[in-house]
Structures are given as C-alpha cells and as structure tokens.
Symmetry: C2
Subunit: 304 residues, 2 copies
C-alpha cells in the first residue's frame, strides 16, 4: 500500500457520458446536476458534448446547459466533440479542454462513425491541429481499449500503436475506455505494460465500467502502476448500451469511498457527492447501481 499515490484526480463524467446514455432529461435537470457536482469539491467535470442533435438527442441542449450552469472557478470543465463542427461549438462556448474519441477496435469504430480506426486517427490529427491553434488541449479517448463487444480481446500492442500515433499528432492526454466493462486486473496490467515507457510526458487516464464487478479492482491495479487520473460517474449514471439493465460507468462515490479509506485524497466531499447521486437518481427516475449510494459509507453506523 505504501507505494500508492497520495492523491488522485477524479473526472466526474455523469453530466455528459452518464446522461448521454440515459433517456433524455430536461435542460433544467442537467443544470441542477452539474451545479450540484460543481459544489462537491470535485476538480474536474466532463460537462457536455457538442454532437449532432439528431444523432444524440440527449445532448441537443448542450449550449443551453452550459450557459445556465454556475461554473465554479475551482473546477475544470471539459467537452467531448466528434468533428470540426463540434470543435467550433465547444470553442465558441469557451471550452479549453476538449475530448475526441477513437475506438481501438475497427469493427466498433465503423459501427460508431463508419470509418476505420486509422481513418479516425487521421481526422483526429486535423482536429488536434485546429484545437491547438485555438489554445485548447485535446484528450484522445481510446474506447474498447480492454476489449470489444464485437471482436472480443483487443491486443494491447494495437492500443499502444494508437497511443503512439495520437501522441505524435499532439494529443495532450490519452484516456483508455473500458467501453463494455471487459477490463480486469490482468488486462489493466497488460495494457499499461504495453503503453508505458515512450510517453512519460503524456498523462494517462483510465475510464472503467463496473459491468462485471471489476471496476474497483481495476482501479486498485492501475494505482499500483502509478496511474492517478480516473473517470467516474455520479451514482453510476450511464448504463451499458450492450446489456440492458447492466451497470456501466463505475459510480464516483464508490471510487471516492475506497480511495479515501485508503488515505488517497480526491478533494471531494463524499457526503455532498452522495447527495448529488441521490439527485441523479431522482432526475433519471430509476435506481442507480451505486452501492455507496444505497448503503452509505462504511463510517455510517447504526444505533445499537
């Protein structure tokens, strides 16, 4: 335990990645959730995506949400974009931290954007140039990094090659997406062993789903490998698009609860975060899969 980092950086992705994968909710509810999260002490939030409203109706009101949100000076906000049109909207809205996505699996990438992984990397190279010209940083999210729902295992070397290409093209951060919860401690170790070495100056962020119960074990493994940036979604918002009723994003309060107990700082007020998770549950109108939301933190005792 003594070799673990003393602090980690949690990016809260519920407002974007979470709500994008739930049934649409009103603008006002999105603003309320964003504002509640901004007040938890979390220092980094994925706020919205600027995607085509026909493709993703859940994010059609991204501009309104962002305009109405009470932006905290203590929080960094990022936005996801799919193309140059989205990039322009994000820049116009004032974002300086931008995310783009490519899938490590050709089949998955074609299903999403009808292009090969290599073609998407070409597009991303141009987007990085455009965004850097406007003083924004670019994070390249490599989805299906730990496995593809269509192809199965994805070779760590294939992911490493994608990282090499994206870093050479100027990516400021690489995120590895466990898109359908196929990551395990073994897969985390194999991927990090393959990727690490050449990219000491590029931050690596891990994004786990808890579809098969392994999310916190994966985070523990990543901590042991020195990773200090993780995505998580309040309440576990987001679901799993490939298995109805299954869990998607790991719940932020489960991550924070474990980390704090291990003496690893996040800056987040766990009680405030649990309240935000309760609000998220109210907003989507269904039970979310967070154990810490359900049972409370381990420190909450009951009268004897």
């Amino acid at each position: 335990m003594s070799e673990l980092p003393s602090a980690v950086s949690i990016r809260e992705v519920g407002p974007r990645d979470g709500l994008q994968n739930e049934d649409p909710v009103p603008t006002e509810a999105k603003v309320r959730l964003l504002d509640a999260l901004s007040a938890t002490g979390v220092k980094w939030i994925e706020a919205v995506s600027f995607v085509h409203p026909k493709a993703i109706p859940q994010m059609a009101d991204a501009d309104e949400v962002w305009n109405q949100a009470a932006k905290s000076p203590n929080v960094r906000y990022s936005a996801l974009i799919p193309n140059s049109r989205g990039a322009q909207r994000a820049l116009d809205a004032g974002f300086t931290e931008i995310e783009v996505v490519v899938s490590a699996s050709d089949t998955h990438n074609r299903k999403n954007v009808n292009r090969s992984t290599a073609e998407s990397l070409d597009d991303i190279a141009a987007l990085i140039q455009l965004l850097h010209d406007h003083n924004a940083t670019v994070e390249v999210i490599v989805s299906t990094s730990f496995g593809c729902p269509y192809e199965g295992d994805v070779a760590p070397q294939r992911v490493a090659d994608i990282v090499d290409r994206a870093v050479a093209d100027g990516a400021d951060r690489i995120a590895f997406g466990d898109t359908t919860g196929m990551a395990t401690p073994r897969r985390v170790t194999e991927l990090l062993d393959a990727v690490r070495g050449g990219h000491a100056d590029t931050p690596l962020l891990l994004h786990f789903h808890n579809t098969r119960g392994t999310a916190l074990a994966n985070i523990l493994t990543a901590l042991e490998h020195g990773i200090t940036e993780f995505d998580a979604s309040v309440g576990g918002l987001g679901g799993c698009p490939y298995a109805p009723g299954a869990t998607g994003n790991v719940a932020t309060e489960e991550v924070v609860h474990m980390l704090h107990d291990m003496g690893i700082a996040t800056g987040i007020d766990l009680d405030a975060l649990i309240e935000a998770a309760r609000l998220a549950e109210k907003i989507v109108g269904k039970e979310l899969p967070s154990g810490v939301l359900r049972a409370g933190p381990r420190t909450r005792t009951i009268p004897a």
Copy 2:
C-alpha cells in the same frame, strides 16, 4: 501479477448463507439449487445450517434438504451450527466439516446471541472439543472482522486476539466475515498483517460482501497477501440485513470470472455456474446483483 497463487479454493455459500438471508423458499427449490451447484465443478459448498427453526425459519428443513440432495463425491460440504444441539444434528446428518460463528464486535455478538465475544469463545472451545471427539473439523468464522455496523471500526488487534484464542482452542480454520461490506483493500491489508505470523498451519478464509463495490478489490488484495480460500454466493444471493435493497455476498460468478481471466484456477465451469445463478434468481423470484449474470462473461461477444 506473477506472485499471485495459481489456484484458489472457492466455497459456495449460496445454499446456506445466501438462502438464510432471503425470504424462505421451498425444500424442493433448495435441493435443486444445491444439486445444480454440485454439478458446476465447485469443490466446496456450505450446504445448510442446523439452527433453531423458530430463530431461522429459512433453514427449518435442513435435514430434508440434505437428505434429498444428490451429494457429489467431488464436493466437500460444510454445515453451520450455533450450539451443541446443532452440532449433534450436523454429526447425525454425516457432516465432518462444521462452522461456528463469533462476532469480533461485542455489540454485534450480543445482538446475535446475547453474549459477549469472550463468552461465545468459551462456548466455541467446548464445541470444538465435542466435534473433534467425533472426528469433525471446526472452522471459526469471525464476523464483523472488517467493521461493525454498530461500533464502526474493529481494531485488527482485537480480531488477531480472537484468532489466537480460537487457534489455541483447536480451530481448524479461521474465516473472516465482512458482515456488512465494510472491508476495503486497506482494511484487508491491516487485518492480514495483524493476524498472520503465528498461525502458519491454520488456513485463513475470507468472506466478502460487495455492499460498497469493493469485494473484488478486496479479493485481489488478499491474493497479493497469499490468501487462497474465499467464500462467494451464487448470483450474490443473501442481500444485506442492515441496508434494504443493498448487495450482500459477492457473487460467485463475478469472483470466478475475474480469477479465470487472471489465470487463477478454481475448477469451476463458469457457464454452468451462471446457469445456477439464473436458477437462484428464479427461486428467490427477484433480480440478483451479479454483473456477470446480467452481462455474461467478457468473452461473450455479440454478432457485428
């Protein structure tokens, strides 16, 4: 990863610990579940408990269940007993592996049996003698080893002292129960550091709940400390008595799924186990909290 054990011993506790904490189900259903589990390749099952039927109606038919079950010669079956009356029933039924329980927390122990931890350890010493006289082995389960729902943290040294006493009295195995899901990787490390050393010849088993999402992270931590015996409950049967709707026992298929992917053998056929979990869900008539039951193993791809 290279220092991890190559095989672990899973004890399936769904038929006893799981069903004892669900609404009562018919004898026939219990037998069917027990038989389905005996055919999964699992080598160890907690079959029944011999407790007073008024105290625990869920186990009132323990003798009938055990009589009707198709015992496999490849499976060890254990039974839990609360006292000498239960011990006699278990011996009469032919059990040679017996479990007894004591809580590391005085408050929790008094709530359960109206006696202090020290008084229960006296009772257990007599039970060990009785059972050893009949050539049965005795496992002492120390519940609330990682925290008490009433008292909060339980000092690892207190648990270590209980272990010293039980081993001195002849206990053949010590199990540590995470009764309300308060264990985290830190607590696992602290407990094992406190307990290990003096008891190299006494097997240690860990029993985790997934109430706050940490179960597989805890198991990973325990593996790193050389532990090779774990309890788990098919489908996650059992619930959490202290938080309605919350998860209790870690689901066996989630444990097996992670271990197999890490190259750690269990002898269990995961597909057969998932079918048994589906049966468990049918028997209790509600959705169980197992992610691997819901989403299938990571190797199960969907047609592109």
